[in-house]
Subunit: 291 residues, 2 copies
């Protein structure tokens, strides 16, 4: 594998993912300079102290106009809103990518604008992160052994696709190449639906209006684990749920079908079936979880 | 608090819970002798090696007939099936309890039989344990700072209720006193439904017939956490789901109402509502999770 190299990488949004990217790119010699674009001057200082960027600016165009690689690391709706300005202001040979958790609408817009301005866009989705947010949680090895989707369509320029793929591989991520719509379908069932289900489990308990302190006293590790993702960043998940609503709805239908199937099998006369369902889910999960 | 003391405690079923109980009772001087009733002779040896019991037998009546406290530590359906034999063979002043995850049907049967035979039954449900099973996972501090339900009805004898409560408190469990039906309603929403939802999430992913190795490569910690409880003991959960089906169905209706509410709020024109829902669930969960 060729180690990629960029004179300058611009990171738009220096939070957990953007900050970790900046650290990793510097540590591994992938970039000579990392420029951060933040919303506030205070964030520039914070990102510099964390050694996530070499220098920063709150001016988007100033931050990206000399970059060879631009990585947009903000929530989905913000990515969609800054793509026009970025793709009309980067250098002609620069490559633009993003880390958004949905890909269909982002890649459609990115590739449309890239074609109009004769620029290069490739969608990415590194599946790293946690319920922690912000540059203070950033770390250079965040992407180590994580999975990263890189999108490919008929419009994706091969050289840019290779650059972006090599970039993630240099960070030790495992690549999964997929069409944007295929990505959105896959992550709806393995990531977005589990998130919404966790939120719904919390709200279901809340809806019974039981004494909060009683509930707090009786919840166990099962509830804690099952709902941990509901502690995730609200703004980010708001965007994901809105943007991928169609695929999440499809996955939700499968969830409800499974719930019905399980509860039907709980009836006294179908008990052996219930054992099979539980065992089957256990086996499948064990396969998925096994390193 | 008075430290309880029993000349002999009989534990029916020496797995994770039974084994941990035996260890704790010996270590803390709560029992002079711990007798284990197991299904096989090999299990007796295993339980003795783990220091969970002093001696064991595969004969139920032999195991319980001299005990001052009998704790039934088997799956729900087995508890229901052994209650008649136990309550007609224990000493008149012995106290019988169980650790079943559901309480309405167990306590109804236990109290009915206790009245018939002039014996004493009190239901318990220590909310300890994990996806690990068997006496090899047992540990003396399993119940430390866990929550333990003890049931109380109009039929519960006060002295037996006090004995059982003191027993769990001596193991450093936090007591929650509840009617059996109230217990079943509470645990349906905070324990049984999350379990079934985890199983349904796994089965939903499986139902899409994606390549298993691809799915394995892209699942993240969110999916792992959200579905961890689906790795739990199949036999135990089969019993719980069958026995508490009514309350689980009620909790499921609340879950689906929440799912619908969230997905409705994902529509473009109701976005601010979605943010509120997510934030609300995050706040409530944070309250519950905070030590």
């Amino acid at each position: 594998m060729t180690q990629p190299h960029f004179n300058q990488i611009a990171i738009v949004g220096v939070g957990l993912l953007g900050g970790s990217l900046g650290m990793a790119a510097s540590h591994m010699g992938i970039a000579d300079e990392v420029v951060g674009v933040t919303r506030t001057k205070a964030s520039i200082e914070e990102a510099r102290r964390a050694e996530a960027i070499d220098r920063g600016t709150t001016d988007l165009i100033e931050g990206i106009h000399e970059a060879d690689l631009v990585v947009i690391c903000t929530p989905v709706s913000h990515i969609l809103s800054v793509l026009p300005e970025i793709l009309s202001n980067v250098k002609p040979d620069a490559v633009v990518t993003d880390v958004g958790s949905t890909k269909a609408s982002i890649v459609a817009l990115g590739e449309k604008l890239a074609a109009e301005h004769n620029r290069k866009f490739v969608g990415s989705h590194p599946m790293a992160g946690s319920e922690k947010t912000g540059v203070r949680a950033a770390k250079a090895n965040l992407f180590n052994e994580s999975t990263c989707f890189v999108t490919r369509t008929a419009q994706t320029p091969s050289d840019a696709f290779v650059s972006v793929s090599q970039f993630w591989q240099a960070l030790n991520a495992r690549l999964v190449i997929a069409r944007p719509d295929r990505h959105d379908r896959l992550v709806a069932s393995i990531s977005h639906l589990p998130h919404i289900a966790a939120v719904a489990l919390v709200r279901a308990v809340e809806s019974f209006n039981e004494d909060k302190n009683l509930v707090k006293g009786i919840i166990g590790n099962g509830f804690r684990d099952a709902t941990r993702i509901a502690a995730g960043d609200v703004r980010m998940w708001e965007d994901i749920c809105s943007d991928n609503r169609g695929e999440i709805n499809r996955a939700r239908a499968a969830l409800e079908k499974s719930l019905t199937e399980i509860l039907e099998a709980c009836k006294p006369d179908t008990c052996s079936e219930l054992g099979n369902l539980l065992q089957d889910a256990r086996d499948y999960r064990e396969f998925l979880d096994h390193k």
